[in-house]
Subunit: 162 residues, 4 copies
C-alpha cells in the first residue's frame, strides 16, 4: 500500500518572490524533492493547504484530522510548519490510534539551497515505514512521540521535554 | 549511545578535479551533510577507506567487518559505493548477528547538486534507529534485507530479487 | 591597478534567518562569489553599509559618494539594492566625471540558489574594465547610462526609459 | 542586432551519467543559465557540436570558422573547452577581422554546483558588447587577446604570455 503524504505548507515549501522581495507559497516541491532523492516508494501526495503553522486555525486542523481519518492508508506523512507542529500532532493523537502518522518540516525553504528539507523527508519516510502506530514528529534526524517534544524557539532544534 | 558511521567511499563522496577534469576522492562530506540536515543525533564518524566499491578487495571488506565487530555501538551506518554494496552486506551478515547495520550510498556525488546522498543519509539514519538487528541496504527511500536485493545496473535502482 | 568594489547591501547579500524565518543581512558574500567565478582580477572590496536600497538615506548616499571620490582607483563596482539604484547612480554622476562606476545587484539573494547575482557580478566586472568614464547600471546582461534607465517594478527588469 | 552564441561543448556543458558514473554531453545548458542570470539580451543560440576541446579536429574548427564567417551578427560568443581554446581563437583571428568574437568556457560543469560557468557567461556577454572587433578569450573575469594568452595547465588559470 502507498504512503499517504499530506502537504500543509510550512517553511519547507516557501519560495522567494523576486519582484516583491518577500517569502510566499506557490505550490509544493514534494515531488521534486522525491525525484532528487531517487525515491521509489509508492506515495500518494495531496495538498491540504499552504500555510505557515502559526496561521493555522482550528478549522485547518480539522481538515487535517478528517483527511487522516478517512484515508485508507495507515502510513501517513504530513509536511507542516515547525512552529505549531506539536499542536497538530497532539490533536491527531487524541483521535487516531490505528495509523502511523509522522509530521515533518524544515528550518530552511527547500528552494534556498542548504535546506534540511530533503534530509527530513528522507528520515520521516523511513520512520513512517518502521514505527508502530502512533503520532510522531521527525526532525533533526530524530523521532519524537507527540507528547514528549517541544521546539526550542531560540535554537530552532526539537527536544524531548524531559 | 551514539550511532557509529563508517565511511568507505563510493559515489557519495566523489568530487570533481577541475584541473584534470576527472572524478576523485578527497575527504568525506558526511559532517557537512549532517550539518545541512540540522542532524542532532549523536554520531561517531570514522573513515575506513575512500574507494569505489568496484575496486574493493577482500582485504578491504575484512577491514569493514573487523571495525563493525569491534565497535561497541550496536547501530552502524556504512556509506558505500552502490555497485558492490550487496557483496559487503552479505559478508557482514554472515558474521554479525547482534547489531543493526545499514549500508547506504548515492547515485550522484553530494558535491554535484541534486544528489540523492542527503536524502539517503536521512532515511538510513532513521532505519538504523528503528530496524531490529540485521544487515540492511537503504536506497531509494526503501530498506532491503541483504539477502533479498539487487542493483538493477540499467536503471540504477535497487530492487527486491523476488 | 585594482578594481575597487564597494558593498552597500541589497538583495544580493540577503540571507535567511532560520530561527526567525525572515530575511536579514549578515556580511557580504562577494569574496565567496568571486572565488566560485575563479576570478583572478585584482579587486579591493570594502563594505560601506548593508542596507536595502529603499532604506538608504541621503546620509548613506553621501558616504558612497565620498568613498568613490577619494578612492584612487578609477574603476569602481558598487553592489546595491535594485529598487533605488537609479537614484544613487544619478547622485554619483552629478559629481564624478573621471571614473568608470558600475552599479549592480541581484533580484534573488546569492545564498538562495538560482540567483542572478553571480551572473551580474561577472558582467559588471567586465563592463567596468571596458566602458569609458561615466556612471552605469549593469543588470540583465545589459549596461545602461544612469540617465536612461528605470526599473520596471512589475517585471523586475531594467529598461531604457526611451 | 542579436548576439550570436555558438555552442561547441567543453566542461561548461558536461553532465554526470549516474548509471555509468562518468561525465558526458547531453544538450547545452546555455538557455537555462541565461534564464538564471535574468539575461534580457537578444541572443541567438546555435549548437555546432558537443565536444571536449582536446578532441576537436581541424574539421571541427572549420565548422566553427564557417559559421562565424557567414553569420550576419558581428558580436559572437563561443562556448568552448578550455584546453584548446587558444588554438581555435588563433584560427579564427587569422580569418575574421570585422567582428567581435569572445570565447569562454568553464573549469567546472554548470550542473555540478559552484561552477564558474555562469560568472564567465556574464563577463563574456559584457565583453562581446564592449570590445572592438577582434578575437578574445574571457576567463577568470579577464579578457585576453588571442595572441597573448595561455592556459596554465597546473593551476587551470589563464595568463598573459608576457
Amino acid at each position: 500500500m502507498a504512503i499517504k503524504i499530506f502537504v500543509t505548507g510550512g517553511t519547507f515549501d516557501k519560495e522567494y518572490d523576486e519582484i516583491k522581495g518577500i517569502l510566499f507559497f506557490n505550490k509544493t516541491h514534494l515531488s521534486e524533492v522525491l525525484k532528487i532523492g531517487r525515491c521509489k516508494l509508492k506515495v500518494d501526495i495531496k495538498t491540504l493547504m499552504m500555510k505557515d503553522s502559526l496561521e493555522m486555525t482550528n478549522e485547518d486542523r480539522k481538515i487535517i484530522l478528517e483527511n487522516c481519518k478517512k484515508t485508507k492508508e495507515d502510513k501517513i506523512l504530513i509536511t507542516h510548519g515547525t512552529d505549531a507542529m506539536v499542536e497538530t500532532a497532539k490533536m491527531l493523537a487524541n483521535s487516531i490510534k490505528d495509523k502511523t502518522i509522522v509530521l515533518t518540516g524544515a528550518m530552511v525553504p527547500y528552494k534556498f539551497g542548504s535546506s534540511d528539507g530533503i534530509f527530513n523527508l528522507g528520515s520521516s519516510l523511513a520512520f513512517v515505514q518502521t514505527l508502530p502506530h502512533g503520532v510522531y514528529i521527525a526532525m533533526n534526524g530524530k523521532y519524537f512521540c507527540w507528547n514528549n517534544i517541544r521546539k526550542n524557539k531560540e535554537t530552532g532544534v526539537f527536544e524531548e521535554r524531559g
